[in-house]
Symmetry: C3
Subunit: 336 residues, 3 copies
């Protein structure tokens, strides 16, 4: 367990010590981070969501990360920071560093002799590594993972249990796959022959750029021709479906159960709520925000905020959904 | 194959023999349960959904479980019971008892030497059991399952193929995980650093209390800090997403493809239809019912029935969705 | 790499060579198919979606598959065909033939000695084949797949990584399971005992008829009693949920994240968009089309096109959703 002084903690988050702690900040030892309601001796907490403000007066935390505008409580130390949530993230990463690979290969793993793995790559029990696979330094392949032939995986990747990367797909550096994620499943492509749906071989790949995280049981289909591309820093939650030849712009985040249909191009820095659906062959601009359950059927301009199905500007949707509740009254009035 | 007399069957479900069978009930041998339309000699059937009432006159069943208000048919035996569906469940369990573990460990399973398994625990082929895992008596770990280090699993659990339980999670007694279920995936937590989404280590656990069942490919994320808790007797269908730090109250049931966002607290005895979505940090009271596809954006009082997105009282929703079909007419009338 | 002359390509798709190529069609060698924008020397392309018409004048393709009504460009060869998309599919299948099994059994696969596999069946690393399983000629069982006891799999099937087929289910010929698909998970069936949800053993099977494809992480629950049946030629995309005792008619296709509730019967040749939901015990006629996100709560007549939740005729939905945007105006007008 790491232990550092409160003063050192302030340094880690570029903050200033305030409150009753004063000049004793070098003497107070911090061993971890916790919520306001659960924190105890030696723990630091934070206030970033105003829903939890009532937990502040009674917190047992040794100190609290607070923004400029927050009032300092009487009974504990304070580190004043620009962004308490970011500071919380930095400290949580400090106290809980990522697993480090050691080059361990479990005897039950099936590693093809033609695969090229950096010395320190870990391969856990019952993982399968196909022919011609390349895996970069410090990557960890979890138990039951299947890495098919020709896949290239960069440095510092962490593939959790039972993740699947199909043939020929490319993962950059610092990728995380949560359990059961599927990278490179066949896109949903058929042509009607007159008597049956003729499957179209899906010969493209999936390319995940650096620092992408893919949620549990999320599926990214390979391109029909050409690639499905998830750009740098994208974060996808669980049970998301990304169809063939989609491109998702850098740093876009999507909550769980979103579905993106084929060939749709999504901009950078977008934020989608849960259960959003997008039709195929659309272009969504940079920085678009979609409320949960939105249904997108047309191109969207950069920077817009949308909601509803079919999706409309969020401000309009707020009015529409308020008036919707009055529909019985509207109908009644009109029939008078 | 078990065989019991109709009289014994009546005893199992606390029912009364009626109809043409009369005093011969001890002589009629029952070997199983079937639907009204498919049942044949030696089978007992039931009527619980009125949609299937027309199947009653022609059933080939030896006898039928009927409620007080049902009319007894001429041609077969009847067991009169308070709740035919419950009686059906009891008989189906009687004729199809759960698998019993025998302590078999498949040679291909990778069981860490520090794991502590009760003698009669089964571990199927290619399952992986990590360091420090504890598994209680009569539990069965299916093929390809991954149980990561530090996990505790109680007695009488049944984990189906390729289920994953990540590090440190806790399963009570009599838990069932369907294939591909993921317990303890990382919650979706990031802080924007100014240039990238900084992953926040998810250091909490998932705790499943006794008698919980988790559907195929359903994901329960571990807490960011503190635990995600699924209370006693909860039943979750397939492809459900439960985010970090959610709590689901005892005996709540959810149909497939529901999504629950982070830190939302759901009461006891709730019933959610399929594809429902709930925003984060909400409080949903006990006994709340949500129609399929509801979208919940605010706290809900106990005992309410809701539908629509955004969710509204179900009675209002029935009116709103009826008037919605008249919107073109309303618009036309107003423009006159 | 296969190489054929443009004239032979025309023969494969029953088309006619046109444009500047003329009588040299026998001399032009074709090695593959590509999109209009990416195609280069030796590649043939196609125009089937008018969105991509602007890519035609600048394509680097040696030749293009065009429909009767398309204008022939100056700079490349043309094969005139009835259906360019179907022709594309035929050529893509010609240049990318399916994997052929060789009878290889990886040493790490756990194959029960009572299983009966045709000589040329492949079983990949860490796959598990249970007791009494039958697998027909030319089938391929991917890495990490679990085939439980008593399962019967036909000829020419391709099961991708980590797919699961539970006990006693039946797969016809030429079935494809994408990674993580689950066939035969328990249906969601419980009876309330007064104090808990009593699990009803799900004793039916899943039957997949010939030429069915099941998407990644899609789940098909086994019947409660009797079978869940997916008829010939059905194609299901990723993350679809099919509940117990559903029947899906031949050649029906569903986009990802659709949910079908228990005992619903779906006709032949239907087309469902993504994230559609259907209630239980419904009957949906042949050839029904459902727009994405539809919510179906009642039986639907054959041949209808529906949208919205609750689902309504698509024409009506177009009007309703247009007027919905005017709701604030309608309300304002009425209050005047």
């Amino acid at each position: 367990m790491k232990t550092v002084s409160l003063r050192e903690v302030a340094g880690l988050v570029n903050g200033t010590v305030e409150g009753l702690v004063g000049e004793h900040a070098s003497d107070i030892q911090i061993t971890g981070v916790n919520t306001l309601s659960a924190a105890g001796d030696g723990e630091i907490s934070f206030l970033s969501n105003k829903r939890y403000r009532d937990d502040l007066p009674d917190t047992g935390a040794a100190a609290v990360l607070l923004a400029e505008h927050d009032v300092v409580p009487d009974h504990c130390g304070v580190i004043r920071v620009a962004d308490p949530y970011l500071s919380f993230a930095i400290l949580q990463r400090f106290f809980n560093p990522q697993a480090i690979s050691s080059g361990h290969r479990h005897t039950s793993a099936a590693i093809d002799e033609s695969a090229v793995l950096a010395d320190d790559v870990d391969v856990a029990a019952n993982a399968v590594i196909g022919s011609g696979v390349h895996i970069g330094a410090a990557s960890i392949i979890g138990p039951g993972c299947v890495i098919e032939s020709g896949v290239r995986i960069g440095k510092g990747c962490l593939l959790h249990a039972n993740a699947v990367v199909r043939q020929g797909c490319v993962l950059g550096n610092d990728i995380v796959l949560q359990p059961g994620a599927v990278i490179g499943s066949d896109g949903f492509g058929y042509a009607w022959s007159g008597s049956q749906h003729l499957k179209i071989p899906q010969v493209g790949r999936v390319v995940l750029e650096d620092d992408v995280e893919i949620g549990a049981n999320t599926c990214i289909d390979r391109g029909a021709i050409g690639d499905t591309v998830i750009e740098r820093g994208v974060k996808l939650d669980n049970q998301i479906q990304v169809a063939h030849n989609v491109r998702i712009g850098a740093y876009t985040v999507m909550a769980s159960q979103v579905g993106v249909s084929g060939s749709t191009i999504i901009g950078k820095g977008c934020q989608f709520g849960g259960q959003v659906g997008l039709a195929g062959h659309l272009i969504v601009g940079d920085g678009v925000k979609l409320a949960a359950k939105s249904g997108v059927m047309s191109d969207l301009d950069a920077g817009g905020i949308y909601a509803g199905a079919p999706a409309m500007p969020h401000r309009l949707w707020l009015k529409v959904s308020a008036v919707m509740l009055k529909l019985p009254e509207i109908w009644k009035n009109q029939r008078k």
